[in-house]
């Protein structure tokens, strides 16, 4: 400790503005490290924001298994719900088989839309309604 202060003293006093070579190297390295850390942090933050808003489920990135399962269940759910509505309309108004046919295809379209939304191919309902990408800082 005593050594350290003694070393510093002449350096600062003797040549003002020009520290010892050791000190200069150290401060330069510290500076570089600082810079690298801040760029890394910035990148990470940007990546997280991007992931959250580009795709409505960050979980999809966690595992391809979950992503695949989610995509398939979205499509199946759309078709099943469409067919169920069509069947219900047929049952109520005895229009068999037209309700089932029409709503089966509508359900298929809805399933594909669900699928594309999850996959991030088409913008989400919000973004389309806003007609601009949602800014990440707005709702936080």
């Amino acid at each position: 400790m005593a050594n350290g202060t003694q070393n510093d003293e002449p350096a600062n006093g003797g040549e003002p503005g020009k520290p010892l070579p050791d000190d200069a190297a150290l401060s330069a390295r510290l500076g570089r490290l600082d810079q690298r850390l801040s760029t890394l942090k910035g990148n990470q933050k940007a990546e997280i924001d991007h992931a959250e808003w580009q795709d409505d489920n960050a979980s999809a990135r966690a595992s391809a298994l979950a992503r695949g399962f989610r995509l398939s269940s979205e499509l199946v759910a759309g078709v099943v719900v469409g067919a169920a509505i069509g069947w219900g309309i047929d049952y109520l108004f005895s229009t068999s088989p037209w309700g089932l046919i029409v709503f089966f295809f509508l359900g298929f379209a809805a399933g594909v839309i669900n699928l594309m939304r999850v996959a991030g191919v088409v913008p989400d309902v919000h973004e389309r309604l806003h007609e601009r990408p949602k800014d990440p800082s707005g709702d936080r």
Binding site: N57, V81, L106, N114, H126
Partner: protein, 248 residues
């Protein structure tokens, strides 16, 4: 061994009858109680000390709070935090019950579609009721995208409505199917061990293969259990976001 046997509902005792129906306390209900009690113990135990440097228990409680709160803030915004109790309860209930379900001989409640449908419908109805209460008729703008020509508007609205109605279906089926399929696979591979083991000395050596696979599948199931709880909770957040801001 029947791989479906593990999902059988057994009546433990009868609470009473209601309108001619028996109100039974089943093994499913018992494991739901277990999940709730474990969550309550974790939270009460974790917040009892309130130390500056958290103990393991407190750290777990804080981590689960931070995790769900961050998930809700990032998907539904700061307004979404009023739904924090709902999302946190759903997440912890599904997560703890899935983890408990991996323990051998335990019952997995989310492998029954009635349980996941009940949870998904709760979220779905919350979205509709809160959306109508908060936004009134503007809530229906969710189904009417702007900038669509009048000619195809009815078609688009019909598709949007079906897409909206299909949400609870995919929401519930995903969790249910994952847990059911995982546990059946595990059971089938485990039964191969006993089948091969009964064949004599060569069979015992052969049984090492399914044993290894069963161990690997158990690890995978642990991942799936946590991941599906997360997916269920984050979808809840995304749907709640529609109720809070239906495109204003």
């Amino acid at each position: 061994m029947d791989p479906i046997h593990q999902f059988q509902i057994k009546n433990l005792f009868t609470i009473g009858t209601f309108g001619g129906h028996e109100i039974a306390f089943t093994n499913s209900a018992a494991y739901m109680v277990v999940a709730v009690v474990l969550t309550a113990l974790l939270m009460l135990g974790g917040t009892a000390g309130r130390r500056l440097v958290p103990t393991r228990m407190q750290s777990m409680a804080e981590l689960s709070y931070e995790f769900v709160a961050e998930m809700l803030r990032s998907t539904a915004g700061e307004h979404g935090m009023k739904f924090f109790p709902l999302v946190f309860s759903i997440f912890m209930f599904v997560f703890i019950s899935n983890i408990v379900g991996i323990i051998p001989y335990a019952f997995t409640i989310s492998s029954h579609i009635i349980v996941t449908v009940a949870l998904a419908l709760m979220v779905f109805l919350t979205v509709i009721i809160y959306g109508l209460y908060k936004n009134g008729l503007k809530f229906f703008k969710l189904f009417v995208p702007s900038g669509i020509p009048m000619a195809i508007l009815p078609l688009v609205v019909a598709i949007e409505i079906i897409s909206f109605l299909s949400r609870p279906v995919s929401h519930s089926v995903r969790l249910f199917a994952n847990m059911l399929a995982g546990h059946i696979t595990l059971k089938v591979f485990a039964s191969f061990i006993t089948m091969l083991g009964a064949l004599g000395i060569a069979g015992i050596f052969g049984a090492v293969l399914p044993l290894g696979l069963t161990i690997a599948l158990t690890a995978l199931e642990l991942l799936v259990a946590a991941l599906q709880a997360y997916v269920f909770a984050i979808l809840t957040c995304i749907y709640l976001n529609d109720a809070i801001h239906p495109g204003h």
